[in-house]
């Protein structure tokens, strides 16, 4: 019998903002596209997010943040991912992230930012096309 492989995605809410409607919409859309989505719930520290990614052996992390704290939290998250050897995980982000911050975040290693109003289909396609093949 052949192997079954599913794309495992972690949808995380770093920091203190309590707005998770967007995160849940994306989570459900990815699920409906056949992926396994682990949702962390609110108010996650970078340490919690990275440890979860490690234990769940995810292929993709989606960070949702609306509080403006992305410039403080995202570098820490990317650093921890490197420290724990999770460099083969694709990271994208969404929420309220100003245009002018995007290039800085991409330099950190965040592959794409999906702002408010992005059709879920766009995110789904992006993940399907860019998910790393990990061995």
């Amino acid at each position: 019998m052949q192997a079954t492989r599913k794309i495992r995605v972690l949808i995380a809410k770093p920091g203190l903002d309590s707005h998770d409607r967007g995160a849940k919409v994306v989570a459900r859309a990815l699920r409906d596209a056949g992926m396994e989505v682990i949702y962390t719930g609110l108010r996650q520290t970078p340490e919690q997010i990275v440890e979860t990614a490690l234990q769940e052996d995810v292929d993709v992390i989606g960070l949702s943040i609306l509080s403006g704290a992305h410039r403080a939290l995202f570098p820490r998250i990317m650093e921890l991912l490197k420290q724990k050897g999770l460099t083969d995980v694709m990271v994208f982000a969404g929420g309220i992230i100003p245009e002018e911050d995007i290039s800085e975040l991409k330099k950190l290693g965040i592959k794409e930012i999906f702002g408010p109003g992005t059709p879920t289909e766009t995110i789904i396609q992006y993940v399907l096309e860019n998910v790393p093949i990990r061995t």
């Binding site: 019998m1 052949q2 192997a3 079954t4 492989r5 599913k6 495992r8 989570a27 459900r28 990815l30 699920r31 409906d32 596209a33 056949g34 992926m35 396994e36 989505v37 682990i38 949702y39 962390t40 719930g41 996650q44 520290t45 340490e47 919690q48 440890e51 979860t52 490690l54 234990q55 769940e56 052996d57 724990k84 050897g85």
Partner: protein
């Protein structure tokens, strides 16, 4: 060192990355998976495996978080496998059991993994069993397996456990009768959570009435405990009962049961391998496609089609396997 050796070594050392990758191999049913299991199998058998199931809304995840904390307080390490259903339509799954346990993710003595039921050859029960073996070999003292209790499959999943806990809560809309057939019989401990609610005592009495009949023959009388997961009330007593049941099981004629279980597992494995290799071979034949079309045209029924495919094949399959 091969990749398999590396991963096996990592598991035995308790390395979290190795544990995680090994479980992924199991989930993806790769060729390495059985080899990893074979490597670590001798190191299994030390953990206390506890299955927890119950309807949604019973407060299961909150209770499990409290159970983990209590075990941690006692200096035990814990593994948690949380199983959620895969959608039969999309093939995807929303795995949200961690939400209530997230504070524990940075505790080095706790490992939590969410698994979807997928469509495992061999069923989810086998994959869960293998994930439990990995956590066992990695040195976890306690392994909790959590399932939703939404179908017949989780009665199968929960049998991986040595101690089965069924959790219910008053006022969920469904009565005790709604507890999945088969769960009442195999429950070792019953928990009525949200016991601060009005109908808690009635719920306990309802369960007691049913258990009275079940308990008559049994050496272990299934107790009914009350908890309030939100406050942690009743959890230390639950842990005590879990420990008591573990000691009970160890005293039992465990060796005999283990032999029976091992035999059953071996037979399942033989069945699966034999069926899979035969099916793989048959699918390669043109006759397979032809018969599929005939079935659609109602020219032949599936059983007769299977007979045609297998006719004279079995001896060949066996002698091929021997060479």
């Amino acid at each position: 060192m091969t990749k398999i050796d590396e991963i096996a070594k990592g598991i035995l050392a308790g390395d979290r990355r190795s544990i995680a990758r090994a479980i992924t191999l199991i989930e993806n049913n790769t060729v390495e998976a059985p080899k990893v299991i074979a490597s670590i199998y001798p190191s299994t058998g030390k953990a206390h495996i506890i299955g927890l199931t119950g309807p949604g809304g019973s407060g299961k995840s909150t209770l499990i978080e409290k159970i983990v904390r209590e075990y941690r307080r006692k200096g035990k390490t814990v593994g948690v496998v949380a199983v959620d259903p895969t959608s039969p339509f999309t093939g995807g799954a929303f795995l949200g059991d961690r939400i209530r346990m997230q504070e524990l993710s940075t505790d080095e003595g706790v490992f939590i993994r969410s698994m979807a039921t997928r469509n495992y050859p061999g069923g989810i029960a086998r994959a869960t069993k293998d994930a439990v073996k990995i956590l066992d070999a990695a040195g976890k003292d306690i392994i909790l397996v959590e399932t939703v209790g939404a179908g017949q499959s989780e009665v199968e999943i929960i049998k991986v456990a040595q101690t089965i806990v069924v959790i219910h809560a008053p006022g969920l809309g469904d009565e005790i009768q709604a507890i999945k057939a088969g769960l009442m019989e195999i429950a070792d401990i019953f928990v009525v959570n949200k016991a601060d609610r009005e109908n808690a005592d009635k719920a306990v009495m309802d369960i007691q009435a049913i258990m009275q009949l079940n308990n008559k023959e049994k050496a272990w009388k299934t107790p009914i405990l009350k908890t309030v997961a939100l406050t942690g009330e009743g959890v230390p007593q639950l842990i005590e009962k879990l420990e008591e049941h573990r000691r009970f099981k160890e005293k039992e004629i465990k060796r005999r049961k283990s032999l029976l279980t091992a035999e059953a597992e071996l037979i399942e494995a033989i069945k699966e391998k034999a069926a899979n290799s035969i099916i793989d071979e048959l699918k390669k034949e043109r006759k397979f496609e032809e018969l599929l079309h005939k079935i659609l045209e109602k020219e032949i029924d599936p059983t007769s089609a299977a007979e045609r495919l297998l006719h004279g094949k079995f001896k060949k399959a066996l002698s091929d396997a021997e060479t």
